[in-house]
């Protein structure tokens, strides 16, 4: 399996990357997930949908998902919607791309790609 290779190192530390509005990022950084490596690449990316260009969000997403040290990528749902094509095109199990609610946008299960699949499989009208 593709994942087999990634999990090879037992003691390896994996990072959690965040793409989100400043509040989301600030909050998660408080819990200590933030990391800036020696080449000054941060594992978080602040998006202001009024100013940040879609392509730079996509770039950040690609950078995080290609990084072998990242195991989880958190992304605000409303931002994920902006780069939906990119997210749907990403099929690998690791890193896990998690869509999280943002401050102004409460969690909408119907927009979550993974959850939609889950629901389709459970075969329930929930």
């Amino acid at each position: 399996m593709a994942a087999g290779n990634t999990i090879a190192h037992r003691d390896k530390r994996f990072f959690i990357a965040v793409i989100g509005d400043e509040d989301t990022v600030t909050g998660f950084l408080l819990s200590g997930i933030g990391n800036i490596d020696s080449s000054k690449n941060a594992n978080f990316f602040v998006v202001d949908l009024k100013e940040t260009s879609i392509s730079s969000i996509e770039d950040a997403f690609k950078r995080f998902t290609r990084d072998s040290n990242t195991a989880v990528v958190l992304i605000n749902q409303n931002i994920a919607n902006e780069i939906r094509a990119e997210i749907n095109a990403f099929k690998k199990p690791i890193p896990a791309v998690l869509e999280i609610p943002s401050k102004e946008h409460p969690y909408d299960a119907s927009q979550d790609g993974i959850l939609q699949r889950v629901r389709g499989m459970l075969g329930q009208a929930t």
Binding site: E22, I36, K40, K50, K103, E104, P106
Partner: protein
């Protein structure tokens, strides 16, 4: 000149005091807050604010509004007001007003120092600085690329230089936790400001004494409470306490040895004010000690308006306005998150 002198106060500072009292009338009332709390969206919120002294300060902002935008604009309004006053101030009020901007300066400088450590672009950082804490040589900070340069070339030019020279050496700058540096500077600033106010004498000394003593005590208690479970050592902690305040010297000494919350509680037990605040915070699960402190600060600041011919009113106005901005931010936050369960946390000023 003692600015407390009733006879001569109005010659230099009467006009500005009048202006401040005029501004004070613009502080949101409890009715305004009640209206703001009724809002369902931030657009409503913006509409409600136009009915207050804030006017159409948000009119050029595109929708959707962010809570931070609202807060930033409210802060900008405060900064404008403050600048209008400080440009007209004569000595010694001018110096007094300068003192008021130092805390912001400390925060800004700390931000810049952390940024330089990371070799960030300084001009980018300056945008993040608090406008009240900007200083002249800030533009030249772009030259500094290393902490050493920053220390030698820039810091000496700022009004904060004496505090730096007193407490922070170049080695500390790289070795110490940035928060410790921040609080060391703050302590030095508070002590200096306190002495300056005492020198001014009169009602200023009296009222500012109260306010600053409270500030010093609050910091001491906060630092103690917050240091539990962190890497902050007791001797480091002790060095961050101010050398004045109601708790000084006895309470401070005991605070330095405190190990947990309950020991803090027993230390502040003899001090009526803090005992009251503590129990107020403990009785109400929605409120923590810091909220109680904020309330008390508002109470003290309001008292400053009861007297005339003194400078404390400027300090008090700044504090009240900051509380107001906090309130606005809080209510806006609750509205935007559609979570009104804790809406009533704000503190009505007047």
């Amino acid at each position: 000149m003692a600015p407390g002198g009733m006879l001569l106060f109005n010659t230099d500072d009467g006009y500005l005091e009048a202006i401040i009292r005029g501004y004070r009338a613009g502080i949101l009332s409890s009715a305004d807050y009640a209206n703001l709390c009724q809002c369902e969206t931030l657009e409503d919120f913006r509409m409600q604010l136009t009915a207050t002294d804030y006017g159409n300060f948000l009119q050029n902002e595109p929708s959707p509004l962010a809570t931070t935008t609202i807060q930033e604009h409210a802060r900008k309004k405060l900064v404008d007001e403050f600048r209008a006053i400080s440009t007209q101030a004569t000595e010694p009020l001018a110096t007094f007003l300068d003192y008021l901007t130092y805390p912001y300066m400390i925060d800004n400088l700390i931000l810049l120092i952390t940024g330089t450590f990371k070799e960030k672009d300084i001009s980018e950082l300056i945008d993040k600085c608090h406008p009240l804490g900007l200083f002249d040589s800030m533009a030249s900070l772009c030259i500094a690329t290393t902490p050493e340069e920053l220390y030698r070339e820039i810091v000496v030019d700022t009004p904060l230089a004496p505090y730096f020279a007193e407490c922070v050496s170049l080695d500390d700058l790289t070795a110490l936790n940035i928060e410790i540096i921040r609080n060391t500077l703050y302590k030095a600033y508070l002590e200096d400001f306190y002495q300056y106010c005492q020198k001014l004498g009169g009602a200023t000394a009296e009222l500012m004494g109260l306010l600053l003593q409270f500030e010093a005590d609050r910091r001491a208690i906060n630092i103690t409470m917050h240091s539990f479970g962190t890497s902050l050592r007791k001797n480091e902690r002790e060095s961050l306490y101010c050398n004045f305040g109601e708790l000084h010297p006895e309470g401070i000494m005991r605070l330095a040895r405190a190990d947990d919350r309950s020991s803090v509680a027993s230390i502040i037990e003899p001090y009526g004010t803090y005992r009251r605040l503590w129990s107020a915070a403990m009785d109400n699960p929605d409120k923590n000690l810091e909220d109680a402190f904020f309330e008390y600060e508002v109470y003290l600041a309001k008292q400053a308006f009861d007297q005339q011919f003194h400078y404390a009113i400027f300090y008090a106005y700044l504090r009240l306005k900051e509380q107001e901005i906090r309130n606005i931010g809080w209510i806006a936050e609750c509205i935007s998150q559609k979570n009104k369960s804790k809406l009533n946390k704000y503190i009505v000023v007047f």
